[in-house]
Symmetry: C2
Subunit: 121 residues, 2 copies
Amino acid sequence: MGREASFGEFVRSCRELKADGGEKGFSLRKLAERVGIEPSYLSKIERGQQPPPGEETISRIAEELGEDPDVMLAMGGKVSSDLLEVIRSRPRLFADLIRELKNTPDKAVLRLVREVRDGEW
Amino acid sequence: MGREASFGEFVRSCRELKADGGEKGFSLRKLAERVGIEPSYLSKIERGQQPPPGEETISRIAEELGEDPDVMLAMGGKVSSDLLEVIRSRPRLFADLIRELKNTPDKAVLRLVREVRDGEW
DNA sequence: CCATTTGTGTAGTATTTACTACACACTACG
DNA sequence: CGTAGTGTGTAGTAAATACTACACAAATGG
């Protein structure tokens, strides 16, 4: 129940911030409509009464709320399927890399990302 | 049907190699017993008539056949849950890294893995 | 030739996932 | 005051997931 609740709480707080922030159109019902799900379903999700929805739905919620889809997916206990695809294409390589980086501090990983991006090798 | 079939074919060929290689105890039934599933189920999986089994079962099959679990999971269209856990713990970091590495050649990724392992930073 | 072992066919099932549909009560506002 | 919009409760469902149980026919082996 822990993860479901925190996911829902996060969605709700994001939505209420948007709503209070003058940007109208973020009542529970409006968000549900924009995302394409039933209001009652979203209500249950926000209160942790229902587990987080599917990947597509989480991504659409994140998009509507201006949040990072990967972060929101993570809170929902999922990982974007395009990332899974990358891993599955070269499982040995990525399994090793990710396990190696498991206990590596953020800073070092971040540096690695930049190294790769800038092609410093 | 493509992925399911190739997964099954791979399992079958591994098993038959083991069986023909003198190492007894790798008939379909024996493997099924060792893994803890019904023979008929394994039979259908090997022939691609049934989609690949769950993560735990795939891992046990790989273990029994002396194959790499990550590779076998990948063939079954899955990614080990411990890797997912690592990604979910720092989604922004790992999402960026993995997408960055999507089109990076094996050699370069491998070098990265070694760099991390040897702590060259 | 009889018992065992082998792979396979058929017919299910329990659980999880990812939702919908509709009715209800409360509040707000014009 | 009514009506529009708000969140929520109840009661479902279709499809996917991950299997089991049992029976059968062909091959194998002592």
